[in-house]
């Protein structure tokens, strides 16, 4: 007699182990990165409206709520970047003959590029 039983998927499957929880945090991080991108667009829009609007916007960034928000965004942005950087060797397989370029070099190139862009931006802003 065949009467296969299909077990339901538990609603809290994502809380089953630390790997799933980290995955969900990584997915959630994109929401905060997107929110910050929106804020950045608002800033660009204010810059377009003149110096007074821009200064007003910068002044409003001192709001305690926004300071906490930015701390959270920074934490999620770091999580987002680090987890994805570390996954790049799985996606980008570079071979030289039989040998595969070591994972640390593939992932490391992201960190080097990130540092390079950050230094460049800092140099432009400091300008």
């Amino acid at each position: 007699m065949s009467k296969p039983y299909t077990r339901p998927m538990p609603r809290d499957w994502w809380n089953k182990n630390s790997a799933f929880r980290l995955f969900m945090l990584r997915e959630l991080s994109s929401v905060f990165v997107a929110l910050f991108a929106l804020e950045l667009l608002c800033f660009v829009s204010q810059v377009g409206q003149g110096e007074e609007a821009m200064n007003q916007f910068i002044k409003s960034l001192g709001n305690p709520f926004l300071l906490v928000f930015h701390a959270v965004v920074l934490a999620f942005a770091l999580l987002h970047s680090i987890t994805w950087f570390n996954l790049t060797p799985k996606v980008m397989v570079i071979r030289r003959g039989e040998e595969r370029l070591p994972d640390v070099l593939v992932a490391g190139s992201n960190y080097v590029a990130c540092l390079g862009v950050s230094v460049l931006l800092w140099w432009i802003v400091k300008g």
Binding site: M1, S2, K3, P4, Y5, T6, R7, M9, W13, W14, K16, N17, A19, F20, F23, E27, L87, K90, V91, M92, V93, R95, G97, E98, E99, R100
Partner: protein, 249 residues
């Protein structure tokens, strides 16, 4: 040591009598050199001959004895009791597959998905190398490009580890896609376009959210998560290439 015991909590399901699965505890002798499969075999021989499960080679090659060990899909022939002793060990059939009986799952869906990616060498019509020309030659570098994906033993641990297969039953899944990639990467093969109909479809690579657990549990280090992400990159390049005016069909 000879008198030491440990406990296995095994999920039982007998469709003739059970409405739903239930756990049953068994006390088994504890031996340092016993794997979980040894303990299950001991129960079958000494306590309950109706306990139903799959196994064959006992050496991590056949891929038959995969089960959930304390919630993680693993080959029971490769997990020692001493990893958990003296705590009880919970053993269930592979997650997300329908349970046929006790620890045996229905794997028809997996077999269908596996076949859908055409995991065999395909040559274009009329381009078969004549027998008298001998075998298709392949360099060590060409072999290395797909060898990792060819190590799959179809144990289905990756399906039981992947929450997407649990949430979306039509997902073609890690092993099948990795095996499709194994043949796509093979220099002797010309079947990529045929496989892309399945691999690049909504039910295959684009359902994967890169949880990565399929690769974490793989006993053969196949890295199906990597295979899927690489297929995504290649399919994306295909799509952009198809937009170029000089490549339009």
């Amino acid at each position: 040591m000879p008198d030491e015991k440990t406990t296995l909590e095994i999920l039982r399901y007998h469709p003739e009598t059970d409405e739903e699965p239930r756990f049953q505890s068994f006390e088994v002798p504890y031996r340092d050199d016993w794997v979980i499969l040894d303990a299950i075999n001991w129960i079958k021989e000494n306590v309950d001959g109706t306990l139903t499960y799959r196994w064959s080679c006992r050496m991590g090659v056949c891929g038959s004895c995969g089960m959930m060990i304390n919630g993680t899909p693993r080959l029971t022939c490769a997990v020692f009791l001493n990893e958990f002793y003296p705590e009880p060990i919970r053993i269930e059939p592979l997650a997300y597959f329908p349970i046929e009986r006790d620890l045996v799952t229905v794997m028809d869906s997996f077999m269908e998905k596996l076949q859908s990616v055409k995991p065999w060498l395909i040559r274009n019509e009329g381009e078969e190398q004549p027998l008298e020309e001998g075998e298709y030659l392949q360099s060590p570098a060409e072999l290395a490009s797909y060898k990792q994906f060819s190590m799959c033993i179809n144990c289905m641990l990756c399906y039981a580890a992947c929450p997407v297969t649990g949430l979306e039953s039509e997902f073609v899944g890690p092993a099948a896609i990795a095996l499709g990639m194994r043949y796509n990467r093979d220099s002797r093969d010309q079947g990529r376009e045929q496989r892309q109909e399945v691999i690049a479809s909504d039910d295959a690579i684009w359902k994967c959210t890169f949880v990565g657990e399929c690769s974490a549990v793989c006993p053969k280090n196949v890295d199906p998560a990597g295979a899927i992400q690489q297929a995504k990159v290649e399919s994306t390049i295909d799509w952009y290439t198809s937009l170029l005016p000089w490549t339009k069909k």
